[in-house]
């Protein structure tokens, strides 16, 4: 089921009312069934697979504490999780070349992925592994209720593209009696509304330029390549944060809080901070379960333990996005930037100590944005040769600004909406007091204030209706992972 569809919106809104009409003890079952139906809408095989996956992790987690084979159980669980991920997602990249070396036909492995249609596999695998690590380390008790665990894996608002939940954050919320809370539900609807706005009104209008250009790089000129480079992060941000808002808003209407994924990332002053504010649920997952564990394992190496851990973490982070050298380089480039920032921090502070703070801040922000834009070329490009095409076009600027003409005539309103949203983020980021004041004005009591708020919400809905009809519903980028 497409999230950007009237069916999804209608069904999910209706489900909120059904959820609260049900007795508390049936609510989790209802959400679990709803999530299973959502997954089955992609493929029944996928649903069967996800339930089998949940059962394996559930039972391993259940058996681990107090078992004499705790380590073996954990390793078995980890290996099973990784093998299924490799088979479903990386078979073409890893297993096929391996099998061809020993003259074995690997088609049957590729077929598995065709039969199951592994939508959301990268996301639920990290959640499964995270749960096993938590239980093994004793950070969390194993979940006893099977339905709660299945819901943890399958919860439909976050199933396709996260946020990547932590079991010790998600599962305890299911134990709490959920009373209808008007403020909570309204807030959920509002967050969803802004999510749809970001996705449909902004990201979907930028999508044709980014996706078409990357699918036919020979047709673009140097100017277009630069525009493509600079709008890439904006497109990805509005696409993915739009999805996250829809997921978090919908979950909130059921009284479940999902982990945040974005925190005004384009106001970061370096890549280290950027990754604490962009796709936070993924970067924090890799930080906790890969970086810290690796750095601890190699702690005797001193500073090189951190460097090694960083490289391992970020290369895995890149590869998590997909099978291919481009994603590996994407991860490596991030690791390189963070290592560079770590080793040159004191030197940079000394060098720019006399520069005015605001200039330092804004130059740092621009450099961070620019670096991320460049690294995204590896994210969007289908292969390394495409990366070299786009970089060569960036260097040799030829032709005219045709893309600018197109941008200014089609998604015209973007030139208003994107700066407006970034202005709000800037106020929230840099002028906290002003933001609080604005919020207070926005939430003032009284009919005229409510009338004003409702008018704005209605105008947002109208803009969504207009934009939704401008083209085909766009796929969320992160639904590919």
């Amino acid at each position: 089921m497409d999230i950007i569809s009237i069916y999804f919106i209608a069904l999910s809104l209706l489900s909120v009312f059904v959820f609260y009409l049900l007795k508390n003890k049936y609510r989790i079952i209802f959400l679990t069934l709803l999530s299973c139906a959502f997954i089955a809408s992609f493929s029944l095989n996928l649903l069967i697979y996800v339930i089998a996956y949940s059962l394996v992790n559930y039972f391993i987690g259940l058996k681990m504490p107090g078992s004499a084979y705790k380590k073996h159980l954990f390793r078995t669980g980890l290996v099973l999780n990784l093998i299924q991920l490799i088979i479903l997602k990386y078979a073409d990249f890893t297993l096929s070349p391996l099998f061809s070396l020993i003259n074995v036909n690997a088609d049957f492995i590729l077929k598995i992925s065709e039969i199951i249609i592994p939508v959301g596999v990268s996301f639920f695998t990290l959640q499964g592994i995270g749960y096993l690590i938590n239980v093994k380390m004793g950070w969390e008790k194993p979940e006893k209720k099977l339905q709660d665990f299945i819901l943890y894996i399958t919860f439909y608002p976050k199933y396709l593209s996260g946020p990547i939940e932590r079991s010790n954050h998600f599962l305890p919320q299911l134990k709490v009696n959920k009373k209808f809370n008007e403020g909570q539900v309204s807030k959920g609807f509002r967050i969803m509304l802004f999510g749809f706005f970001k996705k449909i009104v902004i990201a979907n209008q930028l999508a044709p330029y980014v996706i078409n250009a990357y699918s036919d790089l020979n047709s673009i000129n140097g100017y277009a390549a630069w525009i493509l480079l600079l709008i890439g992060p904006i497109y990805l941000y509005f696409d993915f944060s739009g999805y996250t808002d829809i997921a978090r808003g919908l979950a909130r209407t059921y009284g479940i809080e999902l982990l945040p994924n974005f925190n005004r990332p384009f106001f970061s002053e370096n890549m280290t901070t950027f990754w604490r504010r962009f796709h936070m649920s993924l970067s924090s997952w890799f930080n906790d379960y890969v970086f810290k564990q690796t750095a601890f394992k190699f702690r005797r190496w001193g500073i090189y333990a951190s460097v090694t851990a960083l490289l391992v973490t970020w290369i895995l982070f890149g590869v998590w996005h997909g099978a291919g050298w481009t994603f590996m380089v994407l991860g490596f480039v991030q690791a390189f930037a963070i290592i560079y920032e770590f080793f040159t921090k004191k030197w940079r502070l000394r060098l720019f100590s006399k520069a005015p703070v605001s200039i330092k801040v804004w130059i740092s922000r621009m450099l961070t944005y620019f670096f991320y834009s460049i690294s995204l070329v590896f994210f969007f490009s289908p292969d390394i040769s495409s990366v070299s095409i786009i970089f060569s076009k960036l260097v040799k600027i030829k032709g005219t600004l045709i893309l600018i003409n197109e941008i200014s005539s089609a998604p015209f309103m973007l030139l208003i909406y994107i700066p407006a949203i970034f202005l709000l983020e800037l106020i929230e980021n840099d002028f906290g007091a002003v933001y609080v004041n604005l919020k207070q004005i926005w939430w003032r009591d009284g009919k005229k204030y409510m009338f004003f708020r409702w008018t704005i919400y209605c105008l947002i809905i109208i803009q969504i209706i207009i934009s939704a009809n401008l083209g085909k519903p766009g796929q969320f980028i992160y639904a590919n992972f």
Binding site: F17, Y20, F180, E182, V185, S186, G399, T400, N405, S409, A410, F412, M413, W454, T455, Y457, C458, L459, I461, I462, I465, I466, N469, L470
Partner: protein, 287 residues
């Protein structure tokens, strides 16, 4: 929860009222300001029109053929071309004109470019909305069906060049200038596409049946769109057995009269100076 459901009901009612108001206002503004809308309403309300030449097609002939000049120097003309007009709509417009008005034109110029969008069954939204036989569906909500015109309206608010653009005898006369910075390519006109075009064939049939001479013109484009095929004219024989004359006025040599720095609005659209120059050349051919 009851209170919340009540609140949602009030919000939805508020939304419906605002939605209707928004659409009414949007439609009203477009009817008053949009060139295509104004032209459409004007052409539906002619009193005994005696035009001898009608121009059909998309925005290229709408900008590029100066019907006021043709009226002054050749015969009474009107430009019915519309922005983004598919061929089917040109057929619908001509048919409607011939049914509605007793005096038939002598000539019809169909201005085309090489992007033959003939397979589509889509009808230009302004024509669709104002057609007699039109049945209203949900997609006819103005902010959906006419959203593109909303963008044009915004351009008029923000750019004085757009505001200065005027409509005369159906032609959109724009004073804006955008240089053509493209380079020549090696292109040839695909004549087969014309022959196989269902809707051009239907327009040819309609013209023949009404004693009208159809002249098909490949409109000039910017340098990278110009071709090396001869100007012609050549006779195009359509699948339905009818035929028409085609002039390839997008020939590189023919287009040499266009000043690359002064005559374009952008994206192969001629501004009023370019359109006048082109119409003078066209007049020589027609005479």
């Amino acid at each position: 929860m009851k209170k919340f459901v009540k609140k949602i009901f009030f919000f939805l009612s508020f939304f419906c009222v605002l939605f209707i108001l928004y659409n009414t206002l949007f439609l009203g503004i477009l009817m008053l300001t949009d060139w295509d809308f104004k032209k459409r309403l004007e052409s539906l309300n002619f009193v005994n029109p005696d035009f001898e030449l009608l121009v059909l097609g998309s925005s290229l002939p709408e900008y590029g053929i100066d019907t006021e000049f043709l009226t002054e120097h050749l015969m009474k003309s009107y430009n019915l071309a519309l922005h983004g007009n598919p061929l089917k709509t040109s057929y619908v417009q001509l048919n409607e004109y011939l049914v509605r008005y007793s005096k038939k034109p002598k000539y019809v110029i169909l201005g085309l470019n090489s992007f033959l969008d003939e397979q589509t069954e889509y009808i230009h939204p302004v024509v669709d909305l104002t057609m007699k036989s039109h049945k209203f569906v949900l997609n006819d909500i103005p902010i959906i069906s006419l959203r593109w015109f909303g963008v044009e309206f915004l351009k008029k608010i923000l750019s004085s060049g757009h505001r200065k653009t005027k409509m005369s005898f159906g032609q959109v006369k724009s004073p804006r200038v955008n240089s053509d910075k493209t380079d020549y390519d090696i292109l040839n006109l695909d004549l087969k596409e014309f022959e196989l075009s269902y809707w051009i064939g239907e327009i040819a049939k309609l013209c023949t049946q009404n004693g009208i001479e159809l002249i098909i013109i490949e409109m000039p484009g910017v340098k990278e769109k110009q071709n090396l095929t001869e100007i012609g004219p050549r006779t195009i024989n359509f699948v339905n057995g009818y035929s028409a004359l085609l002039y390839n006025l997008n020939n590189q040599e023919f287009c040499s009269f266009i000043n690359e720095n002064k005559d374009w609005v952008g994206l192969s659209h001629l501004n009023e100076t370019g359109a006048l120059k082109f119409t003078i050349e066209l007049l020589k051919i027609l005479q």
